[in-house]
Assembly symmetry: C2
Homo-oligomer: 396 residues x 2
């Protein structure tokens, strides 16, 4: 029994948010298409778009002429990107990335600042975040007034409901709140999300996934993350920490994981795990083993691709473990698709056969054959676009 | 972007369903309490209860006098149990259980029929189900006219959306539809659900769980099943088969599971697995190893309880494997509670330490400490009450 009240104003707000969201994904579109996309009635669409046009939130744009070249150019509508700004912050080990997003969800400006994240306590970190946010916003005059919300992405266990980082490899302190201080001083809502969940927001904004109601995103990279989209919504669970796919298990006595336990999927499949295992059997340049660089990971990938059998088998085994982990999620959640992305998809060609073999060995065909296993090329922008998308839910 | 229309009639229907559902769980209640429970406004509650009273769906009942004995007895309202009937069918190996439910969700009559389930093909099984359903209903004159819906529970992989049994240990045939034929001849909607998901419906009807929005039910017994309640709703996934917890893995090269793969949680924790392992190390009466009887399982449990060390360690290890499997779900889904039930909780005292140890070994405290792990005493009625609850969603 949910404690919700359903009244007319709430419905209107939900419909308005749906139209804005449709325009963000599909815009520019003809007015008639909005009804088709959202399932709203023509009367409702007209009422909402009139209201949005009045407030300058949407604008008419000229569509390119149809290829036939005949007829008048069609009038399309789209969001007015300059109507609102959001601030995105991505916190990773010793680095803070600041991004400015527009109402369309595009990143229009970004900056990277070195921050000694591991040396901070809760107070100093919150102070740094605010100082850097204010400095960044000051460099973008005009946007400060348009700011509707902000979002923070961080790797690790996050209580998204409370805005708390429970544990993160980027921090030495545990259980700290990152949203209250910023919220108070910026004067707008601030969201906190695990980095993998940010990526899921970005994936959900893509036209080929926006209609998909039940899918799982797997993020491969420095760690291994996961996100669940269930009934069309990101699911973070009662405790806000879902889905820590990287810390589901392959073996009860496997290799050491960064979380402190043994045999987690991450301890086989993450960049640090791959580089650690490779270092044990071949001569590789020394690195901070927990954080091999992108260049080092590319080099290792290239070695495997060009015939180094040991490296090749390493990726194949990593793929099998990943497939085994995915099989558990298929059994539990019966999704339409699993989308693998993150920096680690650089080696997906080397993982893919293993992934399929791992699933096939672990799970009966009846439970695995209905789900498409896909991978999505990675771009550094994805997390940022996800934070922007998350923060933008406060507009509309 | 969901393709839904939100209009006034839909809201009214949703609110009406919410009131009926609240009465089913909490009734009899005072009228004012309905608002508190559902979060609906007093005006809405009055409108809905008047409409329901007019149609005889609810009735006034006399509450017991307050202990002070002063004042008039309070008038409470409750569902009129005799306003509608539903039919529940539970299909298991060589057995069909038929149940008649009332609008309150109570089982008012039941019958058990021997059916050679493993010898049936799709057509003959559908014919048997219809024949037995009609025969059962004919024995309950008056209820046939009141019949609003029916529900079928079966062990195995079920596509709940299509009404198909993908695979079941109770059947020799795969991929068969069980709802269309019955639906056509009974003239009412027929739901199909996996038995573990039925239990989740029954758990959700209990006052101590009805407010819980995110929990997982684990069913221990002849097999091992699972159900996910997410955002207050049972989640069956895109393919309708969620959540096959018993076929998530403990080991990639573990003991043989009934599904055909190796090392599934079920292959360590189910009745058949426990009895198989026990038979290998102690002298037990012969049994159909895939289906030790309840009596045999109770005997094995008693052996462990009264000091047989080998039996004791068997249950402890089973508990550890169960804990390991639960840990994967905690990492992925961050639930408020995990509720263990099913016939297998007969031995929960022998499993419990192992469950906690298994979780502790597999998962960092940050991801496990927020979830309560509970067990719920088992009653054979649970599946039946769940089918009735599922079927009743068509009323209201």
């Amino acid at each position: 029994m949910s404690n919700r009240k359903t009244d007319t104003e709430q419905i209107r707000a939900a419909n308005r948010a749906e139209v804005i969201s449709a325009l963000r994904v599909y815009g520019p579109v003809a007015r008639v298409d909005i009804g088709r996309i959202t399932g709203l009635s023509p009367a409702t669409v007209t009422a909402i778009t009139s209201e949005l046009a009045e407030h300058n939130i949407i604008q008419e744009v000229q569509a390119p002429r149809e290829s036939s070249g005949r007829g008048r150019p069609r009038v399309m509508i789209d969001l007015n990107p300059d109507k609102a700004s959001v601030l995105g912050l991505k916190l990773s080990i010793n680095e803070l990335r600041l991004m400015l997003g527009d109402l369309k969800g595009n990143i229009i400006s970004e900056a990277v600042v070195a921050v000694r994240t591991l040396d901070q306590d809760a107070e100093s970190l919150n102070a740094v975040l605010l100082k850097e946010a204010e400095h960044f916003l000051a460099q973008h005059p005009g946007h400060q007034q348009l700011l509707v919300s902000a979002g923070i992405a961080i790797q690790g266990f996050v209580d998204a409901h409370q805005g708390n980082v429970v544990w993160s490899p980027a921090l030495s302190v545990k259980h700290i709140n990152l949203t209250n201080h910023l919220q108070r001083h910026l004067g707008c809502p601030v969201e906190l999300a695990n980095d993998a969940n940010c990526i899921a927001y970005a994936v959900q904004m893509q036209q080929q996934y926006v209609e998909c109601r039940d899918f799982i995103v797997v993020m491969l990279g420095y760690g291994v993350g996961g996100s669940l989209i269930m009934n069309g919504e990101l699911y973070t669970g009662h405790l806000g920490a879902a889905a820590e796919f990287g810390h589901t298990k392959y073996s009860h006595d496997g290799p050491q994981c960064a979380c402190g336990k043994r045999g987690c999927i991450e301890a086989y499949v993450s960049d640090y795990a791959l580089y650690r295992d490779a270092s044990a059997i071949m001569n590789l340049p020394a690195t901070d083993r927990r954080h091999p660089s992108e260049k080092q990971m590319q080099k290792l990938t290239e070695l495997a691709r060009t015939g180094n059998e040991a490296a090749r088998e390493l990726f194949a085994q990593s793929g099998r473990v990943l497939g085994y982990g995915i099989a558990n999620m298929l059994a539990l959640m019966s999704p339409e698709r699993v989308v693998v992305t993150g920096p680690g998809v650089r080696a997906y060609d080397l993982l893919e056969d293993g992934v399929r073999e791992g699933i096939r060995n672990a799970l009966v065909n009846e439970l695995s054959s209905g789900t498409a296993i896909e991978h999505l090329p990675w771009s550094e922008d994805m997390t940022g676009k996800g934070i922007i998308a998350l923060a933008l839910k406060h507009f509309g």
